[in-house]
C-alpha cells in the first residue's frame, strides 16, 4: 500500500466513506457511506475516479495533511477554505500535490461536509463490498474510526477515467435553510391530521447533537395519537421518527436498521444528500409530495447527474 499522506490535524470528524454497503440491513448492518453522495461523486469525478470510490469525508472542520507522494486530489462540498502550502485552492477540479506539500482545511461557514478525493481512490477495511466507516461498531475505513493525528492514509490505485469538469450550475451552494421533500411515513395516520399538517409546513431547527445516525429536530412537538408501544420495525436513512418526547429524529446514513418510534415521513432519495449538509441551528422545512412525484423527481435528478458522472446513483 502506497502512503498518500500523513494526518497533521484530524479535523472534527474525518472518515473514509464510499457509496455505502447495500443489502445487509437484515443483519442489522447500516448503509453508511457518504452523507452527501452527490458531493462524493463530484470530488471523485473531478479527479477521474469512479463516482463511488472511497474518499475523505470532513465534518464541520476539515483536516490538515502532508502528502507523501505525487498525486492528484479534488475537493467538493462545504467550503472549508482549503489551502495548499498556504495558497487557496479551488474545489471541483484536479489539483496536483507533491511529496511534502501541505493541505489544510478549516471550518465551514455553511454546509457541514466537504470531501477530498484522491486519484485512484483510498485503501480501507472492506466489509460487505464497502470501506465506509461505521464508527459505532468500528467497521470499515481506518480501524473503523475517525482519523487521528499521525495516521497514514493509503492509496488504492484503481482504474482511472478522464477527469470530469463539474459545471458551475451543478455545484451545490449551501445556506442555512433547507427544504426536504418527503412522502408520508408508514405511521403518519397515527398522528392527528393537524399535527401532520404542522409537520409539513412549520420550520424545525436542527439540534445541537447531530451525527451520522440522525439529527434531532427542534420545533413543534410531534406526538402520535396512538399511545400503544410500537414493536421494532424497519427504518431507513431519511426516515423521520417521533419519540414520545415529541422531538422528531431525522435519520442519516448511519441510521439503525429498526426502531421503535412512529415514522411520520420519509425524505425522498433525491434530497437525502442535503441531510448530510445540515448544521446545528439550520432551519428545515418538510414538503409533502406523493410517492409517484418523488420517484420522478429522484429519477430526473439522477439522470442529470449521471450525464456528467457515469453510473451515478441516488440509491
Amino acid at each position: 500500500m502506497m502512503a498518500i499522506a500523513t494526518i497533521d490535524r484530524p479535523g472534527l470528524q474525518t472518515t473514509i466513506q464510499d457509496a455505502g454497503r447495500r443489502g445487509a440491513r437484515h443483519l442489522g448492518v447500516p448503509q453508511s457511506g457518504a452523507a452527501d453522495r452527490v458531493c462524493l461523486a463530484f470530488a471523485n469525478a473531478a479527479v477521474g475516479n469512479r463516482w463511488d470510490a472511497p474518499a475523505l469525508e470532513c465534518t464541520m472542520t476539515g483536516p490538515a495533511l502532508s502528502f507523501e507522494m505525487d498525486i492528484g486530489f479534488a475537493l467538493s462540498g462545504a467550503d472549508m477554505g482549503a489551502l495548499l502550502n498556504d495558497e487557496p485552492v479551488g474545489r471541483y477540479q484536479t489539483i496536483s500535490a507533491r511529496p511534502g506539500d501541505r493541505l489544510a482545511l478549516g471550518a465551514a461557514q455553511a454546509g457541514a461536509r466537504a470531501y477530498i478525493a484522491f486519484a485512484g481512490g483510498m485503501a480501507g477495511f472492506a466489509f460487505f463490498d464497502s470501506v465506509s466507516t461505521y464508527m459505532p461498531a468500528g467497521l470499515g475505513g481506518l480501524e473503523g474510526r475517525a482519523l487521528r493525528t499521525g495516521d497514514t492514509i493509503g492509496s488504492r490505485k484503481a482504474t482511472m477515467m478522464a477527469p470530469v469538469d463539474i459545471p458551475d450550475t451543478l455545484r451545490p451552494h449551501f445556506g442555512h435553510d433547507w427544504i426536504l421533500r418527503a412522502t408520508e411515513g408508514p405511521d403518519t395516520e397515527s398522528f392527528n391530521p393537524k399535527t401532520v399538517r404542522h409537520f409539513f409546513s412549520a420550520p424545525f431547527k436542527a439540534g445541537r447533537r447531530g451525527d451520522r445516525m440522525g439529527l434531532r429536530l427542534i420545533g413543534a412537538e410531534m406526538i402520535s395519537e396512538d399511545a400503544r408501544a410500537m414493536k421494532s420495525s424497519a427504518v431507513f436513512p431519511g426516515t423521520v421518527q417521533c419519540p414520545p418526547d415529541g422531538a422528531p429524529i431525522l435519520l442519516g446514513p448511519d441510521a439503525q436498521t429498526v426502531g421503535g418510534y412512529r415514522r411520520i415521513a420519509q425524505v425522498i432519495d433525491a434530497d437525502l444528500p442535503l441531510i448530510g449538509q445540515i448544521r446545528p441551528g439550520d432551519r428545515i422545512w418538510f414538503r409533502r409530495i406523493k410517492a409517484q412525484t418523488a420517484r420522478q423527481t429522484t429519477l430526473q435528478r439522477q439522470i442529470l447527474i449521471a450525464s456528467f458522472v457515469s453510473d451515478f446513483s441516488l440509491r
Binding site: 437484515h26 448492518v29 466489509f127 411515513g185 429498526v258 432519495d269 420517484r295 429522484t298 429519477l299
Partner: protein, 229 residues
Amino acid sequence: MNAPTIKPFGECGFIAQIEGFSSDVDSGLFANAVARALRSNDGVDDAVAGIDSVAMRFDPAHLGVDDAREMLLDATNNTPRNTARAKSKTIDIPICYGGEYGPDFDALCTQLKITADALIKLHSTAPYRVITLGFAPGFVYLGELPEDLTAPRLKTPRLRVEAGSVGIAGHYTGVYSLPSPGGWRIIGRTPLALFDGRETHPFIFEPGDEVRFNAITPEAFGAIRRAQK
C-alpha cells in the same frame, strides 16, 4: 386467513404489518421467513423484518411499483405461518453475570426484588430463540424472557455498550455482537467472538437459532478470551 396490511414506505418501498400471531417469537420468525423469500427476488434492494412487520425497498429500474407491492403481498401470503416451529441450530453462550461485565445487574436485582443467584438462574434456565437481527450490526433479539425478568429500557441510553454484552429490555433479552450505543439493561457479557468480518456470514446468530446461556466465572471469561486469540 389474516390478510396483511400493506402501506407505502418511501418512494420505492412497502411495509407489511403482520397480525394474528400469539407470540413475538412466532411473528418475528415469520417476518424473517417472508423477508428471506423476498431477498431472493431480482429488484429487491432490502427486505427487513421487524417483530411484526416486513419492510421492502425495491429498485424501480428493475421492478414496477405494482409488481413490488404484489411481490410483498404474495411473499406474506405464501410463506408458511408455522416457520417458528422449524429449529435451525443450538448455540451455547457462556456468560459472566454482574460485576464489570454487567453494570446494570445489581440495580436490576434490587428493582425486581430478587437475589443475584435467582436472576442468574431465571435468565440462564430458559432456552431462547433468536427472533430477529437488527438495530445494530449483529444485535439479536432473543425471546421470550420469563415474566419475572421483564424490565424497561434505561431512560438514558449508553453511548457505548461493549461487544458480547447481554441485556434485557421489555420481554426480550439481547446480545450485542459488536460495540454499539444502546439502552438495554446490561446484566453480563460473553467472552465469545460473535463477529468475523472476513466471513460471508459475519455473525454467528441467525433467526430461529436456539440460544442457551451458561453462567461462568470472571476467571473462565478470561481463559476463553485468551483461548480465542
